[in-house]
Symmetry: C2
Subunit: 210 residues, 2 copies
DNA sequence: CTCAGATTGTGTAATATTGCACATAGTATT
DNA sequence: AATACTATGTGCAATATTACACAATCTGAG
């Protein structure tokens, strides 16, 4: 029985994809789905889906499959996304502004609750209904608003300093758009969005066979 | 000897990180680096770096380490990023515009050579010096300009259709920002940028210990 | 020219991840 | 109530990835 051991991170990373696919099924009025069908939609084998889910419990019915709405609710509960999360955004440049205006975050329970920038010109300015605050106020504002998650959208050479402040202010999950690896202590999670690295890894295959 | 077998994709994905770190070292005037030092900067073990590189050749000197500039050049050559790549961008919305204006792409040899949108209101408009063209012209324009790589920045429900057209037009590498899995035939590479999925996978750990 | 110190490249072991395949259990049909 | 289907949950096998550890090799000092 898998349920007794902690799920590998690869499994945790797939759960949001399962959840999203189930949301689309639900929207399309599909009430029931098999691991086979779900897998075909997201290019994951049926066995993998079943095994992944087995880390958290038994959610299907033999001979039938999964109740879409029920499984979605269960996964959302497992991930803790059955509630909204307050997130801080650091860096209100081109990218930062685009992120603030992106509707997808709020729709999926990601609530940008604070925006910080180091440029005094920008402080007090409102973007998408949110007032930009000065970076120096991070360490007081973050604990006040109980923010545990942050998005870094500053230049690479400032990312580590920003992360250090975040960590001191008890932020424990960071999504960084800065093209540099951030050092964090045990217990803090960092993930990266790195389009250039992705494109550069694909050029390998394009170069190869031509 | 590793060099005789094709490198696993995990290895290929790490190469751009090695390259970037080397670029930073070079910029800082550091001429030589050991696998140990390089690894500490990007949180990869020294053995992993050495083994990864061994898929492509021998680049270091025993007792010394690696010549930063030389290794960087070699990796850039392996990845095929020692030249510029023409990339198409599909979708000139909020996100698309931010991507066009992002300097990082051009600096790293990613040359946005065409921008398409389905909205006739936007056609002919110039963004960041590039004229937006109509999506219908993709199938003729892409082969003309010999574009093999594309970035999808359209809503989820249009992503698959766009991908289909791209593939017909011989695009073989796709970076998609749309929150949905795209089906592609053998020989076409797809990767995703999915900040919501990333944040949702981190909330798992935050929920867990509180 | 020899020795000490450093660091690579890699065979092999260890670990992690994925996939197979089947007993089990549910539904539908007759 | 028996049979035929279907699809789950999971033990185990297969594969993939990472880490270890050491012989080989380079440099520099004396």
């Amino acid at each position: 029985m898998n349920r007794t051991i902690t799920p590998p991170d690869v499994v945790v990373r797939r759960l949001p994809l399962y959840a999203r696919s189930l949301r689309y099924l639900l929207r399309d009025g599909i009430l029931s789905v098999s691991s086979q069908e779900l897998g075909e939609r997201i290019n994951v084998t049926a066995a993998q889906i079943r095994k992944d889910l087995s880390y958290f419990g038994e959610f299907g019915k033999q001979g039938i499959g999964y109740d879409v709405e029920r499984l979605l609710n269960q996964i959302e509960h497992i991930l803790g996304i059955d509630r909204a999360w307050a997130v801080a955004l650091i860096g209100a440049g081109q990218l930062g502004e685009a992120l603030i205006r992106y509707e997808g975050f709020r729709e999926q329970g990601i609530h940008i609750a604070a925006v910080f920038d180091a440029n005094t010109q920008k402080i007090g300015k409102s973007v998408g209904g949110i007032i930009i605050e000065h970076s120096d106020s991070m360490s007081t504002v973050l604990p006040q608003r109980n923010i545990q998650m942050a998005i870094i959208a500053v230049p690479a050479d400032r990312a580590q300093q920003v992360a250090n402040v975040l960590i001191k202010a008890n932020v424990r999950a960071i999504l960084s758009y800065a093209p540099t690896v951030i050092q964090v202590p045990e217990g803090v999670w960092v993930r990266y969005i790195d389009p250039i690295a992705i494109l550069h890894s694909m050029t390998f295959y394009l170069s190869r066979d031509e």
